[in-house]
Amino acid sequence: MPDVSLVLALHREGHNLARTLRSLAEAACFAAVCGISTELVAVLDRPDPITESALRNCDLSAFMSVRITSVDNGSLGPTRNDGCRLAEGAYILTADGDDLISFNTIERMFRHAERLGPQAVLVPEFIFAFGAAYHIAEYFDLDQVTPLSLLADNPFTSRVFFHHSLLERLTYSDVRITQGYAYEDWHFNCNAVALGYTFHATAETILFYRKSSDGLLQQGNQISIRQIPSSMLFSPERYRQVCGPWADRIAAGADPRAMAAGKGNSVLRDPVYLELLLAAHAIDPAISPDRFETATCFNYLGADLTAAIGYHRLCTIVGDRQFDEVFLLPFLTTGGADRYVLNVIHALVAHDPARRILILLGERFARHTWLERLPPNCVHIDLFTVCAELDPAQHDLICLKLIQSCAANARLHLRSSEFGQRFFARFGPVLGAYRPVFYRFSDGRNTYGDMTLVEPSGFHFVSENIETLDRIVCDNARILADDQARLRFMPTKWHVLYSMMELPGRLEERSPTGRPGFSLLWVSRLDAEKRLELLMAVARRLRAQLPTASIHVYGQPTLNDFDVARFASETNVRYHGAFESIADLRASGYDGFLYTSSFDGIPTVLLEMIAAGLPVIAPDVGAIGDLIRDRETGLLITTTGDDEEDAARYVHAIASLAADSALADRIRRQAFALAQERHAPEQFKLGVAKVFGLTSAVPQLAAAQ
């Protein structure tokens, strides 16, 4: 049995291979002189003819034995595994077809490994990159760089020397050059550390790493997400166990990295390294000493560990929990979208009380609200509080690690936000496995002078990620219609789930208002998008055409672009100022509700007014037409954007409502019935069950009705 098996993965190294084989043969010769036998296991993975020919024409007599096999993997990981399976040596040394090694590598690593025992994995002390670019990378033991450094980068190399027994516990993963994961070597090293193996740099050994402008590493860097697949090292329990002591030491000011020092390019003046360098230079002159003189030198002693330490905090918070649902939210506040998502969470838990939910809040927010409304088996992490020192890219990274490690089978939920969209833009190619659900609310509008344009972020996100998204959940049918008009693609991914509204059991009967004439309620923010000029024009026309009518205005300016004193100029308008809650308005005492927004989804205030039994007059903009059907569930005004023209239409509608109490009564009843049918809590729960295919919930909830 050979002492060492050199497992060489080959693909399309062409004319470079002869020099690689010479280098490996020299190392095998040197080892043999020192009493160490080496076998060569060459695995040709979809090779080109030049590579095949180079292998067959080379003098391999330096090796104790040679095994050559051909495979059809198209992937480095499985190719290394194929080689390892054939290897008979007590130790394995991995190699690639275009790199050289210092002639003492096998001998030094074998002796080092014999000293350290089978739990040791060895890497060369130096990488000298040459060819298209030159640099020197210096490697250190795991205890020096700490296992924390494996989270954000690979502090070791793909060329490793380990005891054959490791293969019983670990193989390389199949990480192809795709848009998804990459770096089977980094992944292998993480898993080895998770299994308790320790990494050591073998002194006075060098890997001469050929850099080409279109090598596999470069290709992987260009198209992948530059992250590794899920590794057992990052499961919270294992991570706390392996990395916790190191995080504690660093927190205590005892960073082990401070004890180590790099040699840098001073090794170029060390006779031992120089001899190794010149021996490699004789094989390939491109390994030229003077080119390393000015080359960049780096090591991992100074790697940024803040993300790794931050991830340790997350692991401490989540403990050993696993999650079924993960919500990526910017923050939690009292907005309509927040309420909607919160209701979804409650509906999911109502369906299955054991459902475990993780909420990651990824944007800076002074004070999250409604956290107390989260169900008990819900874990929320405010990344900006827990890991304040991390930048957004690091937040994204630790979120990915957490999702990989404790939500492997979870569903990912996100709403339109900078955090969610950034995360998706970076890691989208691997997120399909998490059946991502995107909550899609009506698009905002951006105003530029006299021009109003659709805010693009929501639709654009859907457009660019539709293939990866599993479901798009909209709070009204208009979104679905608009999106499909633009896309006409994968329509079955869209689901309409109307927002939830607590409604009284039955519609209140109308009672005398106590107010003289016909009184209308107007409630909203006093901002330009609510068309306050239209409101004023309505008041003016109303005064002339229906003198007994009055408009009661509630709300306050939030953008300071309206002077409330102007209301006093219209005698039929009464401004009541801000309000605390809708209940304070005693809405049921009015004869109708007036809504004048320039765009909207289905505004909550309309549902609240319908719940209060008011007939609604509203514009046919955005998704309002989905709720207000003209003369069925309200009076729907087709607006033109011209205040005077639209005011005339509003006043006509108000007059018809005032003149026809039967119409008013019919539309308020029908609106209430529609709201019950779509927005009642039971319907919402049924809707959630249907959207997510929670089939068992449907009969249960239906029975509960």
């Binding site: 010149l278 002159p285 491109a286 000493p289 344009l453 457009s463 693609f489």
Partner: protein, 513 residues
């Protein structure tokens, strides 16, 4: 069928989710044009379209054109598919668009009206191209008569969006530039060919192309894998280039009548016509959003290219003349220590053997010996890029060298030796030299000393090693070099030849140049 004024030719491959928006934009433009009495046809070319794209086309097939036709082809090539579309189109004018872009609602009408005014040799492009989606930017175009396009040698002054007479597309089909050829940009190439045929480019005011930027688009893919160059075009034949750009060269070189037009930049976002254009495009695809162009734009560019590169090419064309060459040499910067340059010596020998052979030699670094020009035979023409293009970057000079190689020496054998110039040129454009017979002269490697250690200068072997697949023959001058190279590159012994004292024993015969 009604006679068709404009055929809009759209190519579809894998744009399923964008097709509806593109067709909505085309429909908007066709409706506007038809209201002005212009008849419009839509021709869809589905090239290896996936099922989703075919379905999307069927679902969104518009009915507001005078005629709609679709064909399925199996090209895997944008250029060939456009040719297929042109072959079946019925219009007097052809208007090309990709399957994921939008146009301004007025484009078809205004382009047609401009074509009527400007005559059959006008090629029309929108005044603006707005990149949107994964990236935002704008490009403002100027007509060829107000902004010289002499820089077309190193950059594309226009866009794929072009509307022109059908006779142009018949005379000048699109080239196939698959990713494996090393070439790219069939549109740039097409526009070069159109310019060579005497077509002039005009900008249509008030119009725009909205050019979708995708994270993994074909364009970005081609940028990564190609040399960034177009296939040879007749425009770069010295005779044609000198004819087409004579006036431009005179104006530029004399700095006379050459005032560059002023770009409007973001000011266009306040122009009422363009605000209307934006509003209508935003309704079709919200990603076309004016604020993104104002605050998130990568830049506002124009098609005013680097005149110097074009002018240098013009001067080089004057220098090389209009007749083709038989041999090409890439010269190193001379030899140190008074040694004779092997490439120059080989040239002299070849000239002696073939006195009629026309030789073109390129030099791109100072000729180090005696500050004298290299001693070339009388039949050789020297293009000293380092002098001629002294204001250009090395990358630009390389492009000029490639263009001259392609234009003046289409199949001539190439002779070179390891040098910084040859290394740079081969690394960048080697893939485009695969059809040539290449001879490399390999002087012995210098020995160098660094920190008391003697080692071999790696550049000679490095060049040979990197480009051994392209090099047909290596002429070495000592046995030691031959053996060292063969040892490091086994299995290719036949490529090395040892030069005899006279230098002519193993030099190429006429059949190889």
């Amino acid at each position: 069928m009604t006679s068709i004024d404009v055929s809009v030719i759209i190519t579809l491959h894998r744009e399923a989710k964008y097709v509806a928006r593109t067709l909505a934009s085309l429909s908007d433009a066709a409706t506007f044009a038809r209201q002005r009495g212009i008849t419009v046809e839509l021709v869809a070319v589905l090239d290896r379209a996936d099922d989703a794209t075919k379905q999307a086309w069927q679902n969104a097939r518009p009915n507001c054109f005078d005629n709609v036709q679709s064909i399925e082809v199996d090209n895997g090539s944008l250029g060939l598919s456009r040719n297929n579309g042109c072959a079946v189109a019925n219009g007097e004018l052809f208007d090309l668009i990709d399957g994921d872009d939008l146009i301004s609602y007025n484009w078809i009408a205004y382009a047609f009206e401009a074509a009527r005014q400007l005559g059959p040799t006008a090629a029309l492009v929108p005044r603006f191209s707005f990149g949107f989606g994964a990236d935002y930017y704008s490009v403002e175009y100027f007509s060829q008569d107000v902004s010289s396009t002499i820089g077309i040698v190193t950059g594309h002054p226009y866009t794929m969006k072009i509307c022109a007479s059908r006779t142009l597309f018949a005379a000048c089909p699109y080239a196939e530039v698959s990713l494996t050829t090393g070439y790219a940009y069939e549109d740039w190439h097409f526009n070069c060919n159109a310019t060579a045929l005497g077509y002039r480019f005009f900008v249509v005011d008030g119009t725009a192309l909205f050019y979708r930027q995708r994270a993994n688009s074909l364009y970005r893919q081609s940028m990564r894998t190609s040399t960034g160059q177009i296939p040879p075009s007749p425009l770069f034949q010295p005779r044609t280039f000198l004819n087409v750009f004579a006036d431009d060269a005179e104006r530029i070189s004399l700095r006379r009548e050459h005032t560059r037009p002023v770009a409007i930049g973001t000011g266009i976002l306040d122009d009422p016509v363009y605000r209307d254009v934006f509003a209508r495009a935003n309704a079709i695809d919200p990603a076309v959003e004016i604020g993104r162009f104002r605050w998130k734009s990568r830049g506002n560019f124009t098609n005013q290219l680097h005149d110097e590169a074009g002018l240098t090419y013009y001067r080089a064309c004057e220098a090389v003349g209009v007749h083709p060459y038989d041999l090409v040499f890439l010269l190193p910067g001379g030899m140190p220590n008074g040694r004779q340059c092997p490439v120059v010596r080989a040239m002299q020998v070849l000239a002696q053997h073939n006195p009629q052979a026309r030789i073109l030699a390129f030099l791109d670094q100072p000729w180090i010996r005696d500050r004298e020009p290299p001693p070339l035979p009388g039949s050789a023409t020297l293009v000293d890029l380092h002098v001629l293009g002294s204001s250009l970057s090395a990358e630009q000079r390389d492009v000029l060298c490639l263009k001259l190689l392609q234009a003046c020496t289409p199949a001539a054998p190439l002779h070179c030796s390891p040098s910084d110039f040859a290394q740079r040129f081969f690394r960048r454009f080697g893939v485009l030299l695969a059809d040539r017979y290449i001879t490399c002269y390999r002087p012995p490697d210098e020995k160098r000393t660094w920190n008391g250690v003697t080692f071999t200068d790696p550049r000679g072997f490095e060049f040979v090693s990197e480009h051994i697949g392209l090099i047909d023959r290596i002429i070495a001058f000592d046995q030691e070099t031959v053996e060292a190279d063969r040892y490091r590159l086994p299995g290719l012994d036949h490529k090395w030849h040892l030069d005899a004292e006279t230098g002519n024993r193993t030099l190429p015969g006429r059949q190889h140049g």
